[in-house]
């Protein structure tokens, strides 16, 4: 439990007690505008997201597919700043969900790892997901996150060896982010191929909760993953919906509809 509200582990335990898994939604701050993205994150919370991944737009997002790349580029074009993320984190916390930030490493490094951690904790953030930082390079972040009581969410992938799974999960706190397939973010018709096996391999080396991301876009997929993981992470499907045609209000309603369906999905999984 962080100083300002439920931590990631509290949320996952609560979900487990309710006989379901957690729904984790990702959106980048600043898309389509800072205000628009914060409004969209509130919709995610209202429609059933337990944890919101507040994404930082980055100039060189190497594990993001076209949908997230374009959204990040648009956000940067519109002038989004790293500072805006902390306001979004506070808004998510106020709306009643647990916020974590997802950021490529250079943005954290450039702000200063200690300062970033302090600002994140002060805004009510529960932790940080680092898609291009492996534990081997994370000494500063491990120390700063310990000082500020923040969760550390590293990634594992289908290519991870048992040794790497052990090393990465040992460094994680909160949950481990399991990439469902080899590749970049973006909706896929099927995510089950590698994901189930990866979760089993993680469970063989660690007790840490496992949340599945990359490629999830439908209620059916969410329900399927809920059968074997601890959380379902949805990103680009939400971003694409938010970026659709029509006025922002209409798009927010579409986002609400999709999120509601996904929230039903995580309640339909059978272990």
């Amino acid at each position: 439990m962080s100083a300002t509200g439920a931590g990631v582990e509290d949320v996952l335990l609560r979900c487990r007690a309710e006989g379901r898994v957690a729904l984790i939604g990702y959106l980048p701050v600043g898309y389509p505008s800072v205000e628009g993205s914060v409004a969209a994150m509130r919709v995610l919370v209202e429609a059933g997201c337990d944890i919101v991944e507040v994404g930082l737009a980055y100039s060189d997002p190497v594990i993001d597919g076209p949908v997230n790349q374009d959204a990040m580029a648009a956000a940067l074009e519109a002038g989004v700043r790293v500072d805006d993320a902390f306001d979004a984190v506070a808004a998510v916390r106020e709306a009643g969900a647990t916020p974590v930030v997802m950021s490529y490493w250079n943005l954290v490094l450039h702000r200063g790892v200690e300062r970033f951690a302090a600002d994140l904790a002060a805004a009510g953030g529960a932790g940080l997901i680092t898609p291009d930082l492996v534990p081997d390079e994370a000494d500063d972040w491990v120390a700063a996150s310990d000082r500020h009581g923040l969760d550390r969410i590293f990634l594992v992938a289908p290519s991870s060896t048992p040794e790497r799974l052990a090393r990465v999960t040992a460094a994680c706190r909160g949950f481990v982010y399991a990439a469902s397939t080899m590749g970049v973010t973006g909706a896929r018709s099927s995510v089950d191929g590698d994901a189930r096996g990866l979760v089993e391999r993680v469970r063989a080396v660690s007790d840490i909760p496992v949340c599945i991301g990359l490629g999830v876009s439908t209620r059916e997929q969410a329900a399927e993953i809920a059968g074997y993981a601890d959380g379902v992470i949805v990103g680009s499907a939400l971003v694409r919906t938010l970026g659709g045609d029509g006025e922002l209000d209409e798009r927010l309603e579409s986002l609400r509809t999709l999120t509601t369906a996904l929230a039903q999905g995580v309640r339909e999984g059978h272990r």
Binding site: I63, N106, S159, S160, V184
Partner: protein
């Protein structure tokens, strides 16, 4: 035919032990998605085994002697040197290698390692097209599938090289995201690699990227400095006062610098792309303006804004148009062993023209940065000085840019 000694266990092909693996002081490292870590570990193991395996070293030496055209010659350029304060100037002629630049040294070695790892496909990024052409060439030679990522802006200014790669059987993907130049081509290549890492090796073309690339690519280019040092000694009876090379990512520079690092009396001078001048903001002179940061897997000097977003670079030469630099250069600079200056587009075009007209050698625009640096350095050091300049590539690919710059294109005649 010239004799090329097979590298043995004493040469620099054997990776050196670093205090921290993959680190040059604080620079370098491995800032990558976890999905790539197993492939990087596999690559590190494969290249270390290869470095001491005669099956690999003999084959690479054979290819360099019979295919690349090594050793590359040394050419003294007195008529050019007359414009360099009278200093003596010798060029290491990497432009005469097969495919027209130093890039083939690294690519042949990585292609051999690709096969040793049992992979069947290579991908590469390219800016000017030199590395893309070299990779497409090695893939054709060794029967590997090949995809080259190139920024859309670069496919337009280097159209001839796009055609060369396609003729060699490679697929060329024009990258339209971001600034549509070299850095975006690397982003796209990394995305491909994360997706296809089981079958695919990413042939990074310079001394950047996650460990072990900066070290490995340097070692594959170290043959440049090995040869040049012996050739200069034979020609002049002494070591040069300075070794000069252009620096984008910095592979040709590390290749020629490496053997001279222990020669304390030899200045190592890297020349970056000054573009339209530092004050214009349109340049790629990282050491003149940048601070340490992480891009494409390595910690190094990086052009970035106050949030840490990458700032777009600019250069008249696509091959130097990159906002970061190989981490070992950052290290050599910070410990004071190497020094870095820059040449603006205009200075570069002047040096380019000068070498063409005084010596009958058309250099790549990238290499013309080193020549501009030599003009400046020669004037500083005077007639007693001996300069070794790495002529990393030939300028055929740059005719369109040069013709436009000098107003040689008769639009009506087209």
């Amino acid at each position: 035919m010239s004799e090329v000694p097979a590298p043995d266990e004493d040469t620099d092909l054997v990776p050196q032990e670093l205090p921290r693996p993959g680190r040059f002081g604080d620079f370098g490292g491995r800032y990558v998605p976890e999905a790539l870590v197993p492939a990087l570990e596999q690559l590190d193991e494969a290249r270390q085994k290869a470095a001491v395996d005669p099956e690999f070293t003999d084959e690479l030496a054979r290819l360099h002697a019979t295919y690349t055209g090594r050793p590359s010659i040394l050419t003294e350029v007195p008529r050019f040197a007359a414009h360099c304060g009278g200093a003596r100037v010798v060029l290491k002629r990497e432009d005469l290698n097969h495919t027209g630049s130093h890039k083939i040294n690294n690519v042949l070695a990585q292609a051999l390692i690709t096969k040793r790892m049992g992979k069947t496909r290579v991908i590469a990024e390219t800016g000017a097209g030199q590395h893309g052409v070299a990779t497409a060439t090695a893939a054709a030679l060794m029967g590997l599938d090949c995809t080259v990522y190139m920024g859309k802006v670069d496919t337009e200014r280097q159209a001839l090289n796009v055609a060369r790669m396609k003729i060699l059987g490679a697929e060329v993907v024009a990258v339209e995201h971001g600034s549509a130049t070299l850095k975006d081509a690397i982003n796209e290549a990394l995305r491909d690699w994360v997706t296809n890492v089981g079958t695919t090796h990413y042939v990074i073309g310079t001394v950047t990227g996650p460990h072990p690339f900066p070290e490995m690519v340097r070692d594959f280019h170290a043959v440049i400095g090995e040869e040049a040092r012996a050739q200069v000694l034979e020609l002049t009876g002494r070591l040069p006062d300075a070794v000069v090379a252009c620096v984008g990512g910095g592979s040709n520079a590390m290749g020629i610098f490496h053997r001279f690092v222990e020669d304390e009396g030899v200045r190592l001078v890297g020349v970056e792309a000054g573009g339209e001048g530092i004050e214009s903001g349109r340049h790629a002179a990282r050491f003149a303006s940048a601070s340490p940061g992480v891009l494409h897997g390595a910690m190094s000097y990086l052009m970035q804004d106050t949030d840490g977003q990458t700032v777009e670079s600019h250069s008249i030469s696509a091959g130097l148009d990159y906002p970061s630099v190989g981490p070992e250069h950052s290290y050599l600079r910070d410990i004071g062993r190497a020094e870095y200056r820059y040449a603006t587009d205009d200075q570069v075009m002047e040096a380019f023209s000068l070498l063409c007209r005084t010596e009958g050698i058309i250099p790549a625009l990238e290499s013309a940065h080193a020549l501009a640096g030599a003009v400046e350095l020669g004037r500083e050091l005077g007639p007693e000085a001996l300069l070794l300049v790495n002529l990393s590539g030939r300028g055929d690919k740059d005719m369109h840019t040069a013709a436009a710059y000098f107003g040689l294109v008769d639009e009506d005649a087209r």
